[in-house]
Symmetry: C2
Subunit: 214 residues, 2 copies
């Protein structure tokens, strides 16, 4: 089976923003409240960062747990990896995720600034430049036949969408308005010429949008 490029559990506001304005160490999502974005996933049994037992096993859980299924590599933008900009030498930053990041595969971080690979537990971050297609070629090779997850943020997903490189997307639309920030779309209808979409409201309040290529 062909390798797919998949977006999973990417949450946006009703007005299409994947993060707010003013990202910082203290506010990874800028003026957006992370709880507004991730409560739907955080409440599930399969949430990767869950530390207590329990959690729901309904619709949101089916979607949350697909994050890991048959994934061999992730691609993310530098602004997902951390709040700092510019050359890496200026600081010592190993990502948001602590000593055991929830990826467990190679991760390709798109950046214009060179940096040596960073290994934390079973995740290795590679810092790469180039076009979306060039980075994807590296990730597909590293995934060894499995699929590649496109992790975000919104600008990175847009870049891959605009290059026609995304096969499926799961975007959860949260019941909140942001007004400004990093925007995925003005409306999900922007993708309807190229993708089928199932729109599935969840009892948790988000509306899951499941896209696949026409």
């Amino acid at each position: 089976m062909a390798q797919l490029v998949r977006v999973h559990n990417f949450t946006v506001s009703r007005d299409g923003y994947g993060a707010g304005e003013g990202q910082s160490f203290e506010r990874p999502f800028g003026h957006a409240e992370p709880a507004d974005f991730f409560a739907w996933a955080g409440g599930t049994a399969s949430w990767p960062n869950r530390t207590a037992p329990g959690g729901s096993r309904g619709l949101d859980d089916y979607l949350t747990r697909d994050f890991h299924r048959n994934i061999g590599a992730e691609i993310m933008g530098r602004n997902k990896f951390g709040p700092y900009r510019g050359p890496w030498a200026d600081h010592d930053w190993d990502g948001w995720w602590g000593a055991v990041p929830p990826f467990h595969t190679p991760v390709f971080v798109m950046t214009h600034y060179e940096r040596a690979p960073l290994t934390l537990a079973d995740t290795t971050f590679h810092f790469v430049s180039g076009t979306a297609a060039q980075v994807l070629a590296q990730a597909l090779a590293a995934a060894e036949g499995k699929d590649v997850r496109l992790g975000g943020g919104a600008a990175t997903i847009r870049q891959f969408l605009d290059s026609g490189l995304v096969d499926t997307l799961h975007v959860a639309v949260a019941p909140v308005e942001l007004g400004r920030g990093s925007r995925l779309w003005a409306s999900p209808d922007e993708l309807s010429d190229r993708y089928h979409c199932d729109v599935v409201p969840s009892p948790s309040g988000v509306v899951h949008h499941l896209f696949w290529r026409r």
Copy 2:
């Protein structure tokens, strides 16, 4: 993580029947039309019996593909395994699924009649008698830490439900009335004292019911 007992992709009519009356070799689901029951899953990219490429990758596909995730064994009733009743010596029957059954794990077939194990490709069918709890104990051991899928039919699922042995159920309610046959329930509300349930209508016409323990 504890092993779970899971029902997946079990389809019933609006009036709760998992199969019609009069099962036979020619009509595995009795007077029910298999297409009415399985079109929602058969149209997806992940349907195990799919031979052509393509297929949808929306909501129905998320549910269909969960069939295999972290499953180490299956339990089924004899009437799922085949249309014949009584001692096995009377006939030569190796199941509906041909030389490569879609299970790929040990399968425990509940029957009052002894029969030697049957191996087809990477699936081995064990023919076992005993209570639901006794059969489950065997399946949990065979699953080696993974979950156990409870495959049906309706009477087998009822037996396990009535013994309190099922952790999660995915039941798809198809837009068809059967009137008679093998019944799972008169209404999904029968489970609401013991289970949470997300009710999720699909664009394909079925209504997914996702249960997990309270």
